[in-house]
Amino acid sequence: MGAISEIFKKNIRQYGMIIALIFISIFFQILTDGILLKPLNVTNLILQNSYILVLAIGMVLVIITGHIDLSVGSVAAFIGALSAIMMVDMQMNPVLAVILSLLMGALVGAWQGFWVAYIKIPAFIVTLAGMLLFRGLTMIVLNGQSIAPFPKSFQKISSGFIPDISGGSSLNVLTLIVGIVLSVLVVYQEFRNRKISVKYGFEQSSVWLSVAKAAALVIVINLFTMVLAQYNGIPNILVILLVLIVIYSFVMNHMTMGRHIYALGGNEKAASLSGVKTKRVTFWVFVNMGVLAALSGLVFAARLNSATPKAGTNFELDAIAACFIGGASASGGIGTVVGAIIGGLVMGVMNNGMSLVGLGVDWQQGIKGLVLLLAVGFDIYNKSKTA
């Protein structure tokens, strides 16, 4: 038991938010008479929040370096508009258009990263300028009008599902198979970790803890795929999201690049004197944010099936809120990709639940604001207690 409470204490913030997410889900599940977790609604939840979650992944990196990016909503709109021009007006091949759009996103990120990293203008100012600049450019390239419709294949990013191989049964069999494969991977990973710690002679956590952890994950994964399988299966965007989460978590936790980002956010001067190329790292974090903002813009355009001048309004605020609810520190150095995703889900479930209950947007806004404040307040209270 000691080990569990130890682990729990160490990760109280992360687990705290998972627990909060579970409670919020149960709360709305009851309040909506079970609509919240119906297969159709769960699928909707994923589709509705995908573009914010994509942004949150990039944003948490920016926040860990101690910066902020206010421009992502405008950048998403701008790239969405460019992609519409390429695909709809110029009839370009969607694959090529997507690649070009992501490159444009990288260029936008490089533009902002240059000012932040090398000219040392505070990111708040650079990206505030970017927010205005790219919103303006969006309106200019769109001439103030929407462009629609996108080619069918492009729309599949946001509205497609992985194929059903069962051929007409009520359950999506491939989705179930994916669930089982992921379960095997989880169990194998846990097993491998234990083997490695034996090899290096590290202290072993109890077998039961490992089993419990793996079992819990297996149950959650399979419940989730089961629910999805009852509707159309796994949405394409969820595949993209999962791949992003795995890649970025790996980079942040297991690669030198991740260490450098954390070190830079924790103490820029010390990191620099330890040989971290702080300017370069900052620059690339912004380039990365640009690419993800572009992806988010594409996903949103595909979902709406049109590029509009007002697309992406307030996306930046939702993405930033997701990071902070997920445990990122405003002063940098602290935060996780998974945390930001959980933060984004907390907001997403609340949005969805409150809409289902019939609460107006006015109330939703207010309640979300309070949740953000309380989540961060709880975090700071916790830290002052342990310090």
Binding site: H254, M255, R259, A270
Partner: protein, 509 residues
């Protein structure tokens, strides 16, 4: 004169892991200048922070009596309201405000929140006259020199109707003229009945102005001397300050010197923002294999600037000169190049420049050497743990776990983490900038042993230190610096504090 204005009785103050003060007593008579002496880390500044309420009542044990009354200060405001004003080593002036705004900051001449600027200006003028500063009250503080800023601080103290003025190393950053002025001013204040406590390392100053001296060592009161009645010489004070058997403070080492492995020639560096200000001029020095070389110098002599400009040009502009490692010229244009070619710099300010305080020991140790621990950018986390464990054992870092956040470690253990980081980077040359600053005596000895171990392995070590005994005790050869130049070079057997001090103050003029 014999009335006692301040009495501190049995003050004990502990920090996590360190007992900074243990049963300290201090008595200051009305209208006297009382000097507080002791080595770095003896507890002088801590004692003054207790007195001024920086450490509020309840965080320490013991009593403070001021003018016969027991005081329980909650914060600085409390102590200031009784007339106890402290002037810290790092001046607490706001650079972008004017002199008068600074003097009356927090004590604005205002009615209902509206500031009376005429009154402020008049009073500022009076105060500036008292301290002998001929500057306009409207001058921005950042535009005047440190010496004058010091006077502004004193004017600020006077504006609060100070009865007891505490000066923490007031002349450390001042040149001779400014120091002289300041000491004269303190003597004038004494004539007006203002008592002062001066913390100082400069024994000649103490001899000049102090009426009595209290000596602290390792957080304890050693003795209080009356300058007039007792036979007080600098030797007596030094002996009280040092106390320990000098032979035991530095571990034995038999130097085994090899060929020259590092050399700096004709090094010149300009100030990073004031581009015509030459900070370092005509620096030539070399280090041999297995040698511990010291750099002694007063504050502002350019020691840290030298180290950092060499270490990947992390300080200064328009850097010129040559660097040789193992006899071949190297161009260390950024920090990575410096690290790759075998140079390490351990900063004097480990909290701001050395450690990622919110990260754990393990991550700090491997930060400079992730290349060694990773393949294609993927870190081998398990090796990472093993390395950290190895250095925890080797350098005796006292911690329950290598996952401990470095912010929670004592100064000595923090320094060991920084040293681990750089030793693991496997440099040939280590530049250690004030390696024992703010570290207790036991840990110091351990750090010295580590330095000796590095030299024995055939590395070259350059030690920058303000503590002359440390330099003399540790180094095979000592360079002195003054005003950005090398002003002398002394072999170990010829080194004495007096000689070094003479060279350290040998300015060009």
């Amino acid at each position: 004169m014999s009335e006692i204005i301040l009495e501190m009785k049995g003050i004990t103050k502990t920090f996590p892991g360190v007992k900074a003060l243990s049963d300290v007593n201090l008595q200051v008579k009305a209208g006297e200048i009382h000097a507080l002496c002791g080595e770095n880390g003896a507890g002088k500044s801590t004692l003054m922070k207790v007195l001024s309420g920086v450490y509020p009542h309840g965080t320490y044990e013991g009593d403070i009596l001021f003018q016969g009354q027991v005081c329980q200060f909650k914060d600085i405001k409390d102590s200031e309201s009784l007339g106890i004003v402290i002037i810290h080593q790092e001046l607490a002036l706001i650079p972008y405000l004017s002199i008068s705004e600074n003097i009356f900051l927090g004590n604005e001449q205002a009615r209902h929140g509206v500031i009376n600027w005429n009154e402020t200006t008049v009073k500022t003028k009076e105060l500036l006259q008292t301290v002998g500063l001929s500057e306009s009250p409207f001058t921005q503080v950042s535009t005047i020199g440190v010496g004058k800023q010091q006077l502004v601080e004193i004017a600020k103290a006077l504006s609060k109707e100070v009865k007891l003025l505490i000066l923490d190393e007031p002349t450390a950053a001042l040149n001779e003229d400014d120091s002289e002025n300041l000491l004269t001013l303190i003597l004038e204040l004494k004539q007006r009945g203002i008592a002062s406590i001066i913390i100082s390392h400069k024994l000649n100053e103490i001899g000049k102005v102090a009426d009595s001296v209290t000596i602290l060592r390792d957080g304890q009161t050693i003795r209080t001397l009356d300058m007039k009645q007792d036979e007080v010489t600098e030797d007596v004070i030094i002996k009280g300050m040092v106390g320990r058997d000098l032979t035991n403070r530095y571990p034995e080492r038999t130097p085994n010197l090899g060929e020259t492995i590092f050399e700096i020639r004709d090094w010149e560096v300009y100030h990073p923002t004031q581009t015509d200000r030459k900070m370092l001029d005509n620096i030539n020095l070399h280090i041999r294999r297995g040698e511990v070389v010291g750099i002694a110098g007063l504050m502002g002599a350019g020691r840290t600037e030298l180290a950092m400009s060499v270490f990947g040009k992390s300080y200064g502009r328009r850097i010129s000169g040559r660097l040789y490692m193992h006899g071949t010229e190297v161009h260390l244009n950024d920090i990575n190049k410096a690290i790759d070619s075998g140079l390490a710099y351990v900063t004097e300010d480990r909290k701001h420049y050395g450690l990622i305080l919110i990260d754990d020991i393990k991550r700090n140790i491997s930060l400079s050497s992730l290349k060694k621990l990773s393949r294609r950018g993927v870190i081998n986390e398990n090796e990472d743990v093993l390395v950290a464990e190895e250095y925890r054992r080797k350098l005796n870092i006292k911690t329950p776990s290598i996952l401990q956040k470095t912010v929670n470690l004592s100064g000595g253990n923090q320094q060991k983490v920084v040293l681990s980081k750089w030793i693991y980077a496997q440099p040939d040359i280590l530049i250690l900038d004030e390696p024992t600053r703010g570290i207790d005596v036991g840990a110091k000895y351990e750090i010295y042993s580590i330095i000796n171990g590095l030299a024995a392995e055939g590395k070259g070590v350059l030690v920058i230190s303000s503590e002359l005994p440390e330099i003399i005790g540790m180094c095979d050869r000592i360079y002195t610096m003054c005003e950005g130049r090398i002003s002398g070079e002394v072999e170990r057997q010829d080194a004495s504090q007096e000689l070094l001090m003479k060279y350290m103050t040998r300015s060009r003029g």
